[in-house]
């Protein structure tokens, strides 16, 4: 009897296995994040709540955005910073689609910041997962809008003079329906939050604090993947119902993860139906 292909991992059916191995460096947190997201998605599909043919993944440019071309779904790997704008067009043109945007902090909050703000303000029916590694990694380690002050990067050799942007706080100031933060050291929270987000309407945002030993680790003296993972793990604390102030990211004081926002404001599609009268 001929031996056909053997699935060696329960998530293989969600992946373009012929594209694996991925381009991610040893110690990178993106694979952990994607694995957790796929476990949540798998559950939702098995529950019969999501049709796998109606899922669209959209990524801009960067290491994190590339997750979209490893998944065996409709997917778009588009322009740097423009994933949310593209995704907005997709979901408005066909509201049956479940649109998932994955990107790095540079892609989503740097070059794509304006689209991020306005999609959250409109409560556009998309999920945005931002994998924060505090640096522009794909281009070799330049300063990002999330890089903490003082960190030496290739473009801030004397130390970063700029205060960082806090994406959770930004989303809290807008009209989104969900905002949560997890860490690659707590993949069960990534899975739980993403699972929850898959069941909500409107703009849903999950920030995943990630490890990038190859690039960011080199800048902060944590070049060893295990060491960087352990150092992050020490600092991450889960808190039920964290406050806005808890959203601060401080490497010394620790990083709070949890669900910062959950509500049921009318989503953009619902608002549109309201004014279009159907």
């Amino acid at each position: 009897m001929a031996v056909e292909s053997i699935n060696i991992h329960p998530l293989d059916k969600h992946l373009r296995v012929d594209r694996i191995p991925t381009l991610y460096c040893p110690g990178c947190g993106i694979g952990i994040t994607l694995g957790a997201m796929l476990r949540a998605l798998d559950k939702r599909i098995n529950e019969g709540l999501i049709d796998p043919n109606k899922i669209v993944w959209v990524g801009g440019i960067g290491c994190s955005a590339r997750t979209v071309f490893y998944v065996r779904y409709d997917a778009a790997h588009v322009l740097h910073g423009r994933a949310i704008a593209f995704a907005t067009g997709v979901v408005l043109a066909n509201p049956e689609l479940l649109v998932i945007v994955v990107g790095g902090d540079g892609d989503i909050a740097g070059i794509g910041g304006n689209h991020f703000i306005h999609a959250a303000r409109r409560n556009i029916d998309i999920i945005v997962v931002m994998i924060t590694n505090f640096v522009y990694a794909m281009t070799g380690g330049q300063v990002a809008p999330t890089t903490p002050r003082g960190v030496k990067t290739t473009t801030t050799p004397m130390g970063n003079p700029e205060p960082p942007l806090n994406a959770i706080k930004l989303v809290l100031a807008l009209n989104a329906n969900y905002a949560a933060r997890a860490s690659v050291t707590t993949p069960h929270y990534i899975e739980n939050f993403f699972y929850k987000a898959l069941g909500i309407k409107g703009f849903r945002f999950i920030e995943v604090i990630s490890t990038c030993p190859e690039i960011y680790g080199r800048h902060i003296g944590l070049r060893d993947p295990v060491e960087m993972y352990n150092e992050l793990k020490k600092r991450v604390k889960y808190k039920p119902k964290p406050s806005i102030e808890d959203a601060d990211i401080d490497w010394e004081k620790g990083i709070i993860i949890g669900e910062f926002l959950e509500r049921n404001n009318p989503s953009y599609l619902e608002l549109l139906r309201g004014v279009y009268g159907k």
């Binding site: 588009v78 067009g89 043109a93």
Partner: protein, 373 residues
């Protein structure tokens, strides 16, 4: 068929509706805003969506996303917004996304004169984005033609899976003229090919016409829309053979249908012409009057008007008229002239540029032409 009285901007919107527009994203900019305002009122009643995005970059990217979700989509803008759309037009090229971009030209560079006309974006329309590609570009000279060419732009976009640019200008935009609109069945409407079946492994494998059927989202195709140079699977392919194959095909698929894309009109052309005036868009309107006036004065002169600015069918154009001397009249520093000079390399081709914020007057046009007579 319905007769009405409309502005060029309304004609653009109505042409898009006739062509099957279902998604419009835009950002306000003079002199294009009426297109979005008109559609905002009308399109939702026809099951379409109009959304004012946060900028022109978002508008064009949303239009591209909507096209992949299966909707015919469009955005309209003017020079400054058009500049912002550059990168995404390249995205539409490499992902082979049907989308129509209307640039209502105003005077530049930069903020320029927002309310006044110009034809200075003609080369911007051609070479806006980085990379090697051909984006078809149409330039209407009347309200009726704005309507007709927008329909043709959608048909071209759907037929060839490409972005298509319509170059209107502030004069056409705000000009009111009679307009005849078509009802269903009275004009050819082309829709994109969609693959048969479900999951496909080679989404970028072309048919013999060099165009792959478009595996739109939500049908189980498991599409990859890829902005990186890719192979037929849609996988990143940073090597020369894949790069050459893709870029060659993207350009050839357009050139193969020059017969469909390229169009022009001649007026009073005979085998005896001494001179030919060549013009396009709103400037062609007064150039036409100038041609009639010069004929009245005894010149053996004719006129050719380009409806398609790019790509140009050289053979067709060279054989269009035998006139030895050609004068190119345009409201810019003399841009299309450069092409015409190359196409008619055995003739005398002269540039008659006008830099006019208003529709050039007959006197002005006669002045710039007369230098070469």
């Amino acid at each position: 068929m319905r007769k009405t009285f409309a502005s060029g901007n309304i004609a653009v919107a109505e042409g898009a509706i006739t062509a099957g527009l279902k998604f419009y994203a835009g950002y306000p900019i003079t002199p294009s805003s009426e297109i979005m305002e008109y559609l905002a009122e009308k399109l939702p009643k026809l099951n379409g969506i109009v959304v004012q995005m946060e900028d022109e970059i978002a508008s064009i990217n949303a239009a591209i996303g909507a096209s992949w979700a299966g909707a015919k989509s469009m955005t309209a803008t003017s020079g400054p917004g058009f500049s912002l759309m550059a990168e995404a037009i390249g995205l539409a090229v490499i992902t082979e996304t049907p989308v129509v971009i209307v640039d209502v030209m105003r005077a530049g560079p930069s903020t320029g004169v927002p309310t006044k006309t110009s034809q200075s974006d003609v080369l911007q329309a051609r070479w806006l984005a980085h990379g090697d590609y051909i984006v078809p570009c149409y330039a209407p000279w009347s309200v009726q033609e704005a309507y007709d060419l927008v329909i043709k732009a959608f048909n071209t976009a759907e037929l060839l899976r490409t972005p298509v640019i319509v170059l209107s200008d502030a004069v056409i935009a705000h000009l009111w003229e009679p307009l005849t609109m078509y009802d269903q069945g009275e004009v050819e409407i082309i829709n994109r090919k969609i693959p048969k079946g479900t999951e496909i492994t080679l989404p970028y494998k072309p048919d013999p016409d060099l165009i792959p059927p478009m595996p739109i989202f939500g049908k189980g195709f498991k599409t990859i829309v890829e902005s990186l140079t890719h192979d037929e699977r849609g996988y990143y392919a940073p090597h020369e053979s894949a790069y050459r194959a893709l870029i060659t095909r993207l350009n050839l698929k357009i050139l193969k249908r020059l017969d469909y894309i390229f169009d022009y009109e001649t007026y009073n052309c005979t085998s005896e012409c001494d001179y030919m005036l060549l013009s396009y868009g709103s400037t062609a309107r007064v150039t036409y009057i100038a041609m009639l006036e010069l004929r009245r004065r005894g010149y053996n002169i004719c006129m050719l008007r380009l409806k398609t600015l790019w790509p140009i069918d050289r053979e067709k154009l060279v054989n269009s008229c035998k006139a030895r001397r050609i004068v190119v009249v345009e409201n810019n520093i003399g841009k299309i002239y450069m092409d015409i000079d190359r196409v008619f390399k055995d003739r005398e081709v002269y540039s008659a540029p006008i830099l006019s914020l208003e529709p050039p007057s007959l006197r002005e046009v006669l002045e710039v032409i007369s230098i070469w007579l």
